[in-house]
Symmetry: C2
Subunit: 432 residues, 2 copies
């Protein structure tokens, strides 16, 4: 690209599907990204925008003039368009809206009236509706007249004359039924309508549970608003699963791998600041034992061992619980059983590792008391790690705070402080 | 449940869909789980087995006699049945196979002949095939005769007389086309056939890329073998995303939240052992500086601060890179740009946190030299964290080792050792 073969690159980009183009843009450092974007065919730009992750998209949208943007977004799906518009500053947003034709504008405004992470926010409005009293033959003739179905159409929605949702009839049923059968007798009771304000993660769970390919969305009065398709649900599932992992490292799950340096540094500093506070707290605990540390330098050498093992054990329990909460395996009714189990694992872990480490230290320094002290501290910290690993995420969930985000730091603070306290405290009592 | 209301519970269980039953079983401690399983209606047991995660399923299968198992698995989808059989010991497996009727056995054996994590391993064999020379009208009449379509059917596969795959025609095209059109002219070129030995994660990526609902699977000679549906792909995507998070804590991604205590302890001990080794390595580095630690107890107090901050910063870079690799954003061509970016973030981070910590320590102990020493060590460790955060996962990927699994420990060992070395080493030179 550096060698200026623009014409060649432009041709290459033209032949790539939108998903691949988006992948290429996300894999490019900021500068090459803007050059590549300029080379993407104007007709494809809308589709590529749909596929990009939020942060990368924002960066690109900043560089586009509002008039141009209206052109780019032409032909985008309503749900994706609404998502794009949401990320724009208000002034640009109004300009883009006013440069659309009135029908498109109406549909986008309807989609925008629902919150981003609800069924209403992810639905499309391109449904095919039929009346309950027509026959299969009429439906087939209507479809032939239409000539094309919206993408991923696997069912039609039966509505009354006030556009109220009655039920869904699958395409599979239509093609396997005799032409003279009336539609109202073919309604599939397995397909339920989704309320427009349902959170998108609940929608994803329904899709997984019933293996749906699409589902109708209705308002409070039961009017059909649109439909959600399984491809949108896949995006939600992926984001959802990534969310826990990224949160645990204190990162935004839409974080751009190639964000500018200053921006990345800013995003990460919050987490480092929180860690600095907890680390300083652990340091202040250590400083209470400065006397004994001055007397016995070996304690200073071994001081990191107990917190480190406790941190790993705690993190294992914590990760398991966070996943369990995310999958809906853990609730009030089985919290006690989980607690008992993890505490048992913690005690067993404690016995094993305390014995091993006590043995190693005793052999190394020829000092049984020192071995006993570190073994005891390890035992205490392993039990504390198990208790905190279960209690911290469950407590945060009760407080309606995301356990994946805040839990890791709190847990580490617990195992660090308890580890240092148990080790240096016991040492002061027995060796001081 | 404890109060013995078996009849009531049995009725309750009967009214629940299989997905909910599976969720209930996974959320139950081992003992109640077996009681609940006994109460599940025999007809539903197969479906519930399909929905369970691998480890929970294994536990339940152990308790079922082979003859019973053949009954339970009747009516299961071929791909799910193959998955269940794979987890059985060989003797049981043969018994179950031999108690099936010959047609079922043939289909299952075909599915079993492909590796578990390939397209062949996740496909179903219930495809609808049509000949290229028939008209739409003939297809419709055939479908009406059939009366029902396999679940999630959105397209039919056109094959020649040797069962070789020619192309796919969507159900949407069939219903929107005039009855006298010949099928061979309707083939949808967007739907590609998948080779049976393609890894399942690649299959998932194709589905995401092209928003497919189902796709045909062929063997090396181009014969149609079956089809993969989007619901199986969703499972792969979820497992894949969970995998990174669980691996980072050294856990199996199918780990059972309510596994027996001894089993859980065993699973977790590998990781704790690895950590013990790296922690002992860090301790041995510390012990090289026992002299200066004996002279200045404050060094012992502050010794955890630099490794802790480096660990967090390194883990942020590491998580971002692991996700980037999983999403396919990071390859050979942009590794250098990523490296430059993360090193810049590391230097900027280093300047910020080194200054802050140097300031805090100087004010606290009224000792500018001590502040300078810890500031310098922090600067060095932040840069090391950035370099290791990028280099470790990329190197492991090159070695074909899962970066998420082994990377975290290696990274922590780097930041711990470099942190201790930089802090205590500089202290020995300047303060000793």
């Amino acid at each position: 690209l550096g060698s200026g073969m623009f014409v060649y690159v432009r041709k290459l980009l033209q032949s790539m599907p939108a998903y691949d183009l988006a992948l290429l843009l996300e894999s490019s450092p900021a500068k090459s990204r803007m050059i590549l974007w300029q080379l993407v065919d104007a007709d494809d730009q809308g589709e590529v925008l749909e596929e990009l992750s939020e942060e990368v998209r924002k960066g690109i949208l900043k560089s586009i003039a509002p008039e141009e943007l209206a052109e780019v977004t032409e032909g985008m799906d309503v749900d994706d368009l609404a998502e794009v518009l949401r990320t724009l500053p208000d002034s640009v947003y109004q300009e883009v809206l006013s440069s659309m034709d009135s029908q498109d504008r109406g549909r986008v405004e309807a989609a925008l009236s629902y919150a981003e992470e609800t069924a209403g926010g992810i639905m499309n409005t391109d449904t095919i509706t039929i009346r309950p009293d027509v026959t299969v033959d009429v439906v087939l003739r209507y479809l032939r007249l239409k000539g094309e179905l919206p993408e991923s159409t696997d069912s039609f929605y039966v509505v009354d004359r006030h556009d109220r949702f009655i039920g869904a009839v699958t395409l599979a049923t239509i093609v396997t039924t005799k032409p003279d059968v009336v539609v109202s007798t073919l309604i599939d009771s397995d397909i339920e309508a989704i309320a427009a304000d349902m959170p998108d993660t609940d929608v994803a769970q329904l899709f997984e549970r019933y293996d749906w390919l699409s589902a109708p969305v209705i308002d409070e009065q039961g009017h059909l608003l649109g439909r959600i398709t399984v491809d949108d649900v896949i995006d939600i599932i992926r984001e959802d699963a990534e969310h826990s992992m990224m949160s645990m490292a204190g990162l935004d799950d839409e974080a751009d791998t190639f964000a500018p340096v200053v921006k990345s540094t800013k995003q990460r500093s919050v987490w480092l600041l929180v860690n600095l506070c907890t680390a300083l707290f652990a340091v202040s605990v250590s400083s209470m034992f400065e006397d004994i540390l001055g007397q016995l330098a070996i304690l200073a050498v071994l001081n990191t061992l107990v917190p480190s093992m406790g941190g790993i054990a705690g993190n294992q329990t914590f990760t398991l619980v966070v996943r369990g909460i995310a999958l809906g395996h853990i609730g009030d009714s089985n919290a006690k059983a989980l607690f008992t189990k993890e505490l048992s694992v913690g005690i067993l872990n404690g016995v094993i590792w305390a014995t091993l480490i006590a043995g190693i230290v005793t052999l190394w320094r020829q000092d049984i008391m020192l071995g006993a002290v570190i073994g005891f501290a390890m035992m205490v910290n392993m039990m504390c790690a198990a208790i905190a690993g279960v209690a911290v995420p469950l407590f945060l969930k009760k407080m309606k705070i995301d356990p994946a985000l805040a839990g890791g730091v709190i847990l580490m603070a617990c195992t660090d402080v308890v580890g240092i306290f148990a080790f240096l405290g016991t040492a002061t009592l027995l060796l001081g």
